[in-house]
Amino acid sequence: MSPISFQFPVSSSQLGKIARRSLLVFFAVACAFLSGCGDDEPVKKIDLTKREEITVIKPPAAVTYAYLPQYSHNVSYQRHHRLVEYLSQATGLAMRQVFPDTFDEHMNMVGRGEIDISFCNPYVYVQIAKRYGARAFARIVEGAGEINFRGQVICRADNPQIKTPADLKGKRLIAVDAYSAGGYLYPWAWLLEQGLRKRDFQEIAFAPGPGGKQEKVVMAVYSGKYDLGLIRERTLDILADKIDLKQIRVLAHSRWYPGWVYAARRGLDPANLAKIKEALLALDMKNPEHRQILEKARFTGILPASDADYEAVRRLAEAVESRG
């Protein structure tokens, strides 16, 4: 009886050779691979046990400059920090831009003396003038010498229900802010003129802050969340590359009212104010350096102003507030 054994087609010695070679190759590759796994990043030794207390260093005393936060702090900073630097250089005063989070905060800070120079809309100016005795001393010129601006009432272009101002009743409305001039006060005046009151609308909302509130209103109408939107003119231009503007219909324009204003808090050193006013008024588009500053701030020029220039706005505000 012969035992049956299984034979490989190669002899056992050949097999052994092949197996040994295979193993060698395998381990060589594995070693090469493993060597590549080494941590080649530079390491810095650090001792986390040495601790120190951090105390917040108070900022040095300076004339504070604030831009009403209709946009985010970033935008506020980007638009105005060159202007602040210019003012500081031009006046020799230490100047610092500060960033209140809301319109209310802005007004409160003016009241607390934390904002020396306030760059705000006419409606807010009317408020801080009334509440805290702030006084306007300059106004800006936009575009091709426009010193006034207006608001718009918009809806979706394909909204079939809105044909006449009477059709606006019972609709949902969104505005920029309760203290917005172009985005609330001015177009609201138009609505009042059309005989519409707050109660005539199903809902009146304001865009959530901070920053970008004008755009948010357009977006809210564009998306169909609200039927009507109140915005200042030129806002749609900003959104030209983000949405299809044909989808938005401008129902009406408000009347023209004065534009944005520079106001000084009550109690600001008049000498400093004079220096600042002079520096601001000195800005000229023809000066390349000034042009850069102005373009950043989206102005074309700055003109002197007085509180009387805003009487119309003051009356408008009173009318809106009283008639609602």
Partner: protein, 699 residues
Amino acid sequence: MQIFAKLSFRGKINLGIVTVILIFGMVLYLVVSRVAATAMTGEIKKRGMNLSVNLAGRATNSILAMDFLRLKNMADEVVESSDDIAYAFIQDVRGQVLSHTFKSGFPSELKDANPISPDASSKIQLLDTDDEMIYDFALPVKVGDNRLGTVHVGLSRAKAEAAVRRLLLTIFGVSAGVGLVALAMGTLFASTVTRRLDVLRQSADEMIKGNLDLHVSPLLKRNCWDIRECQNEACPAYADTRRRCWNLPGTLCPDCREGNGADKLAACKECLVHQLNAGDEIQSLAESFDVMALTLDAHIRELKAAEKSLVRQQQLLRTILDVNPDLVSLQDENLVFQAVNPAFSQFMGLPESEILGQTKVPVCTSDQARENEADNLQILQSGGHQSKEVLVHKNGEKRWFHLVKVPVYDGDRITGILTAARDITEIKQYQEKLIQSMKMEQLGKLAGGVAHEINTPLCVILGYAQMLLEDIPQDTESYEFLQLIEKQAQICRRIVGDLLSFSRHIESRMAEMDLNQSVTEVLDLVRHTFKQNWIEIVPSLVSDLPAIVGDKEKLQQVWLNLLNNAADSIGQDGVIRVSTGIDPQSNRVQVRVADNGSGIAPENLKKIFDPFFTTKAPGGGTGLGLSVSFGIIQDHLGSITASSPAPRELPAAAEEGQDSQRPGAEFLVELPVSREKSVTDTFSELPSAEMQAVDQKTA
């Protein structure tokens, strides 16, 4: 590798599987650890960057607003979002830490651990805190081109490493699990293979032991006749549960092809039966094995039957050859002996093994060998038969053989010569005897005729000679001459008489007679004459012999012939013993005439009864006496034999001091008591080796 070769099949499969899985696991481990580490590091960096970018983006407003609470909240939110984030802190543009997530004080070394250059968009630094490795992500907080400060997020690598370890552990576990499952499955599969292989091996062992009644392949649930609903009992596959129909030749399904070759198998592969019942390679091997065992069994049975019949035939042939007294031999085409029978080897005096392979037999002379070879070659060339008689001398003995040579054909080709040699020595002797007796008979007739013709003129010569003798005086010369003529004429007359009695069968006068009396009368007649030569006759006659039927005169002539021959053989001084008796077995009366004469030479013993054979000098005898006696005894249905030397119980000769050196001779005559022919006397007259004869004859 020796160990590997000795491993069982299952062991090899398991070893192979485990090796493959180990290598696979190892490669997977290495690759995955490498890839995972890279991926995890990349992921950490991406995540850290995301967190940093996010924090930097969100911190802008708070930095501008100097809202430390919100900065603190933001940093805390980042750290709380995941437990592998070690810390987060925010510096202003001067490096002053605005907010951080450390509980008690800020690590002073951390402030400058990962400084970022003004134009860099980000920077990642690996920090070793002794406890753990931390990636520090530094990102500038920028508004436009203006830098407001820096955010730092510290991401622990430990968690990522732990994740990688968990992944590797999972791979290891899965590999081990897969290995175990593969091992189990491998064992299962291998055992299904090895179990069946084992059955095959055991079957092979059984086959080696000679047990061909094997059944390795499994029984089918549905056989071909079930599937095809076939009732054809003539089909070889029908009711055969052990073999598959596609392995059988001559199946009778309409789809089946002839034969058992590749064509049939190819056709079978299309068949439903094959598709349903064909198994894997091992099953097909087992099925082939079964077919092989069955076929082998059938072949072996056939072979055994054939072998038995062959052996029987061989035994028969062997017996025929062994028993055959003829010398039989078979030579191939080169005249080499291929087979011889025992009679042949016995005659050659050589064992069979020494003859086979030779081309010549030792008993032939060189001439005979040449002749034999020439004959053989002629037979091989011509294909004709040959039959002839040859004389062979062996040990001084001459033997006649009748040779028959025939060519042996294989198809059309002559492949050898069969030679049968029959010993015909005895037949040859009979032939010689027959020829001799025929010759003698013719001679007798001739002699009788001549004697008859001579007898008359001889009688005239004798008659006239005797008349003249009476007339002529006795003392004359003429008388002497006449006496001589008369004497010679008497001799002639005796010769003629012998010739006549030899040639002419005179009618016997058969009558009842007394044997002893006939013998006594003859003895009385010759006693006196023999006495003159000092020859003594010793009669020893048994009385009370039964009477026989015979011709008394003729029988007396026989006795006289025998007595004369004895006397002639003795010459002078001798004894003749004459005895009568009876052989109770053959119921024959016997007459013996023995002498102590010169005896008969052995070569003459056979010839003494031939007519005209004589050892006497010319004129001494005609050579017809014994021949005539032979004829007379034959007429009496008896026998006459001679032996020399004579049996040595001749008391008279011994007593009388005769020359005992002479061999002497004895003649024995046996005669039947009744006339009926006895059975035992058929060949008794034939000469045999022990027969002897006297060397002289009566005239």
